[in-house]
């Protein structure tokens, strides 16, 4: 602590937080948090998932009420009792989970957060002008439901800027952007800083923080564990502050002889019509995953990854049975159970409600997904469940994946996100599946657990399985994939071997550049 806090001593603090505490039941989400933000600085708030970042920010924006502590704005003690009060003070917020209305237009969405009575057309014109001046072009008349996640974020940012805030809070803003879009955002942030605005920047991407932030406050388990100047730190030292211990790096042994290995998962000309007006159609997707390799699918959220996963896992059946082939046999007409019986395993994106039934015990959740594939082990004659066998299998998985829990066999909802994810991935790995398909394997999972899951996936592939990973996290894909394909607007590019893939190339594909035309810079439409 201290020492490294430099450069800003002379500047007045815009926001001062002293001893802010928020308790949920037995959990202290924020424990006497202190935070100072100076005028004209970009201040990073670092911490793992569950460290209390979102809780802190919600208290600053008035959507949560602190149990104790004080907030000073421009030196004056204030009580922020609602988002309306925060806005009046001059605090603007760009939410991580967007607070937009899908059935309304961009201009209507913006109008809703401005309290002046000017007509929508005036607001639309203002928004358009402002968006172009910041290089974040926006069509105010477009329907939010039709927009990509990156475009939605522009609306959020423009909406926030139109309120002319002094402090802008950005919660994980780049997790949904292509690297090029992120660059654009950083330019915007730097311009705002030069205009004297303060920015509270929440992220777990340490390279970004090092690049644009002037100071950082690190939270761990609800407590402030340090302040630093991120430019003087390394990504590793920042990670150590966040986690509290060294994070083991993922090791990926080179894959050998993959060209001749049998294709375990083949997708041939997969098409799918949109199920809802806002869904993405899948267009002629082709992909082969061979024994021993990990293929990553990158893409900005909402470009058809969810639809693709549903089609491949059998949540949605295909008309053409040959469009999905598992271990050389047509599987397009089979249900999830049918595909599991062919040796495939699936981990969906949504943990609670999709990957696990929240109010059921871990052992029951294990039985739910494996009653067919492990029928002999788990189900006795006459259809009675062998509770003992299921229980011991659940304990085996818990041990193998280092799942931390409060009871021997707790309900799924009682686990933290990261630990539940470890269990769900472990549940499938335990079967030694020959084809493993995972959607967002480490979304919202802390660094230690994420490394564990990634390592397990690589090892599964190297033992002769085909692994397909869909992720929005480019760092993750570069860490574990042998080749990366990019999904954009329902189309999948040919996989780039990892030796040829760079952030820039993949980023351009994520932004919609045609394969082979990647050298053209991304035109801002």
């Amino acid at each position: 602590m201290g020492g490294t806090v430099s450069a800003n001593h002379d500047r007045a603090n815009l926001l001062e937080v002293r001893g802010l505490t928020k308790v949920f039941g037995t959990l202290t989400a924020c424990d006497h948090v202190d935070l100072n933000i100076a005028k004209g600085e970009i201040h990073a708030l670092l911490g793992e998932n569950g460290a209390g970042k979102s809780t802190l920010v919600k208290m600053l924006f008035g959507s949560l009420e602190p149990n104790s502590g004080e907030i000073f704005w421009d030196g004056k003690l204030v009580k922020i009792t609602s988002p309306g009060v925060a806005k009046k003070l001059g605090i603007g917020m760009v939410f991580q989970h967007f607070s937009l209305f899908e059935a309304l237009t961009a201009a209507e969405n913006i109008a809703l957060s401005l309290n002046d009575g000017s007509p929508i057309s005036t607001i639309a014109a203002k928004a358009r002008a402002l968006s172009f001046s910041y290089g974040l072009p926006l069509d105010p008349d477009s329907l939010v439901g039709d927009l990509s996640v990156g475009e939605r974020q522009r609306i959020e940012i423009i909406r926030c800027l139109l309120q002319t805030p002094q402090l802008i809070i950005l919660d994980e803003p780049t997790s949904v952007l292509t690297p090029q879009e992120a660059d654009k955002l950083f330019e915007t942030l730097e311009r705002l800083r030069s205009e004297g605005k303060s920015i509270l920047y929440i992220s777990h991407r340490l390279e970004e923080v090092k690049r644009i932030c002037d100071r950082a406050t690190v939270l761990r388990h609800g407590k402030v564990v340090g302040h630093c100047n991120p430019r003087e730190e390394t990504a590793a030292s920042l990670a150590r502050m966040m986690v509290g211990s060294e994070v083991k790096a993922v090791v990926r042994a080179p894959a050998e002889g993959i060209e001749t290995a049998p294709a375990l998962l083949e997708i041939r000309g997969l098409n799918r019509k949109p199920a809802t007006p806002f869904a993405i159609p899948l267009k002629n997707i082709n992909l082969t995953v061979r024994a021993g390799e990990v293929i990553g699918i990158a893409g900005v959220a909402g470009n058809g990854q969810g639809e693709f996963f549903e089609s491949v896992s059998g949540e949605v059946l295909q008309q053409d049975a040959g469009s999905v082939r598992i271990r050389g046999k047509d599987a397009g007409g089979l249900s999830i159970t049918g595909r599991r019986l062919m040796g495939a395993a699936f981990v969906p994106e949504e943990r609670l409600g999709h990957g696990a039934a929240p109010r059921m015990k871990l052992s029951e959740n294990l039985l739910l997904s494996r009653h067919a594939t492990d029928g002999k082990a788990f189900v006795g004659s006459g259809g009675t469940v062998k509770n003992g066998a299921v229980y011991s299998a659940a304990q085996r998985i818990i041990k193998a994946m280092d799942v931390r829990k409060s009871a021997p066999d707790p309900e799924a909802a009682a686990l933290s996100g990261g630990n539940l994810q470890k269990f769900i991935v472990g549940r499938e790995l335990d079967r030694r599946p020959s084809v493993m398909i995972v959607n967002q394997p480490t979304w919202g999972v802390d660094a230690g657990a994420a490394a564990h899951i990634r390592q397990a996936l690589i090892e599964l592939a190297r033992s002769g399985s085909a692994v397909l990973v869909i992720s929005q996290d480019l760092d993750e894909l570069f860490e574990l994939s042998d080749a990366i394909a990019v999904m954009h607007n329902g189309e999948l590019s040919t996989p780039l071997p990892i030796a040829e893939a760079t952030f820039e190339k993949v980023g351009l594909l994520m932004g919609g550049a045609e394969p082979g035309h990647a050298e053209h810079s991304l035109e801002v439409a």
Binding site: S63, L64, E65, S99, F101, N109, A111, L112, L143
Partner: protein, 306 residues
């Protein structure tokens, strides 16, 4: 010619209570609240309106009482579902059951009593013009209120900032809350508006349609109004169209039965329901438009975390 005019007039009279109750419920559902108590609020409005009219001798006081009773009755639903976050479906159903029972109990002494009727509009010279005079200038006052109400709701929802805010709450109450919009307050006002409308519709039944009190006289109209809102995909002008199609086929089949057309009467009685559903389904074929107009948070209780 006179027969045609009379039939058209009866169609308007049959459609008016449906339209008013449905427009009220449309506003409620646009705010994201599903109130299945329309039938109950309507019958309470009917008994309250009849009682006040009968006791004071003034049909206008009766109409006002119907509105107030409907609004107060809906307040019960609002407190339960909005402040106490109870299940909206169960609470709405209970409201209907309570309304039907309570109105029967209140109304025992009114059964068989002569009621008062709101007079039709009568502008000397103009209302006696053939056809047009009667149809446009000679109907009951509630008919004009219903048309004005539909136009006003359309304007409010799609032309005003407050209407936009209301629709946004129906789309996503969590997003609205994050923006600092007072979700619960808006929903209270919407539910009370819906209750007042249902009460007015009930008042029309007992002060215009059949100016007397009969137990269960709403006869399922509240349910039809609810269905109209959904089949009209939450759009006011479609609700108007639906209410009038229903009214037209309803009156038409009554006349057909009177003429003794050799079709089973059960089939004829079911025609209004069938025709309305078919027509409204046909006009809401556009899935995208329907999706845009469907309040996405409909029926979900909202509990802000503090």
């Amino acid at each position: 010619m006179d027969i045609t005019v009379n039939i058209l007039l009866t169609i308007a009279t049959a459609a008016t209570p449906l339209l008013i109750a449905a427009i009220g419920e449309l506003v409620v559902e646009r705010s994201g609240v599903l109130n299945l108590g329309v039938e109950g609020m309507m019958i309470m409005g009917a008994v309250g309106g009849f009682g006040a009219g009968y006791l004071t001798g003034s049909p206008w006081i009766g109409l006002l009482a119907a509105i107030i009773v409907g609004a107060l009755f809906s307040l019960l639903f609002a407190v339960m579902t909005l402040s106490l976050a109870t299940n909206q479906v169960a609470t709405g159903l209970s409201l209907t059951l309570l309304g039907l029972g309570l109105s029967g109990m209140i109304g025992t002494s009114f059964v068989g009593q002569p009621g008062v009727r709101l007079p039709n509009l009568d502008i000397p010279g103009i209302s006696s013009i053939p056809i047009v005079g009667k149809l446009i200038f000679g109907q009951d006052p509630v008919f004009y209120i219903s048309i004005a109400l539909t136009a006003a709701v359309m304007w409010f929802l799609f032309r005003t900032r407050t209407g936009l805010t209301l629709r946004s709450i129906g789309d996503s109450h969590t997003s609205a809350h994050a923006l600092g919009i007072k979700v619960i307050r808006y929903r209270y006002l919407a539910v009370i508006f819906g209750g007042a409308s249902a009460g007015l519709a009930g008042g029309h039944l007992s002060l215009v349609y059949t100016p007397q009190w009969v137990e269960n006289m709403s006869a399922g109209r509240g349910w039809i109004a609810l269905a109209l809102v959904v089949f009209a995909s939450w759009r006011p002008w479609r609700v108007l169209a639906g209410a009038y199609i229903f009214g037209a086929v309803w009156i038409g089949q009554l006349h057909a039965q009177a003429f003794g057309i050799p079709v089973p009467s059960q089939f004829l009685s079911s025609l209004p329901y069938l025709a309305t559903i078919v027509v409204l389904v046909l006009i809401s074929r556009n899935k995208r438009l329907t999706m845009m107009n469907t309040p996405a948070s409909l029926g979900q209780p909202f509990v802000p975390d503090r």
